[in-house]
């Protein structure tokens, strides 16, 4: 299934609910464009909810890392929420849990951003 992202706002935090696969091609491109658009529009607190993303490949992992650095370079914060087991396992074996702030509760995640 092609990756789709639905945006919503809670205070100054933008939450993007993704569903589908983050893989080489369309999925990675959708993630890149979504994050780029948010940064370009001035969003500094971005929470990517991956509840409905059960597949990510090395290209998708690279895109997540790129999203992280893009937001950080714009003085913002990017966090991940609700990882599926497969995405969780991939981030764990690639040691990216040490890079990303991964949250499991939306309310806690929203309040964890620096004010």
């Amino acid at each position: 299934m092609a990756l789709q992202g639905t945006r919503r706002q809670l205070g100054d935090v933008v939450i993007v609910d993704f569903s589908g696969k983050i893989t080489l091609g369309e999925g990675s491109a959708t993630l890149r464009k979504t994050v780029r658009d948010l940064v370009d529009s001035g969003s500094k607190k971005i929470l990517l909810s991956l509840y409905d993303v059960d597949y990510i490949d090395s290209s998708g992992i690279g895109e997540l890392v790129s999203a992280y650095t893009t937001v950080k370079n714009a003085s913002g914060e990017l966090k991940l929420l609700h990882l599926t087991k497969r995405v969780h396992d991939i981030l764990q074996i690639t040691r990216l849990f040490t890079v990303f702030d991964v949250q499991s509760d939306e309310n806690t995640a929203v309040h964890s951003f620096k004010s």
Partner: protein, 152 residues
């Protein structure tokens, strides 16, 4: 387990669609060989990464080049080979994606994932110099000749 070796050979175009196709073929074979669902997923993902490697780095997305994939079921192993028409590479040339200084790199994790998801992983050279990736997964011990799990 299969009574004798079975082999599928596929010549793939250097196209994005070939990545999905190769993954799908390998998952079907793995499923038929009796691997459990999560192992089928891992085999499919390893093969996907192998073909992405051939598409991006080996053949440099050159549509005139081909990617050759073979999937073999031997009595004890499922063996997948992915051969590209690039210049080949040595595993020692590839930076460790788990090293602290490489964690923020946006590429370079494919080979690591292939190694993580399969029992054996080797990089060699094809007859014309391209990289040949060999991935081996041991067949489940509980699989019978018809590819179905036997009750324990």
């Amino acid at each position: 387990m299969p009574a004798k070796a079975q082999r599928i050979e596929v010549t793939l175009e250097t196209l994005l669609e070939s990545v999905d196709l190769a993954e799908s073929i390998s998952m079907r074979v793995a499923e038929a060989a009796g691997f459990p669902e999560e192992e089928v997923h891992k085999i499919g993902m390893a093969v996907r990464e192998g073909v992405i490697n051939a598409y991006n780095y080996g053949n440099q997305q050159d549509r005139h080049k081909k990617i050759m994939m073979t999937v073999e079921l031997e009595p004890e192993n499922m063996i997948v080979r992915v051969l590209d028409q690039g210049h080949g590479f040595e595993l020692t040339e590839i930076p460790d994606p788990l090293a602290e200084e490489n964690l923020l790199r946006t590429s370079g994790r494919g080979l690591f994932l292939m190694r993580a998801f399969m029992d054996e992983f080797k990089v060699g050279r094809g007859p014309e110099g391209g990289a040949e990736l060999t991935m081996i997964k041991k067949l489940p011990q509980t699989v019978s000749g018809n590819g179905k799990h036997q009750p324990e």
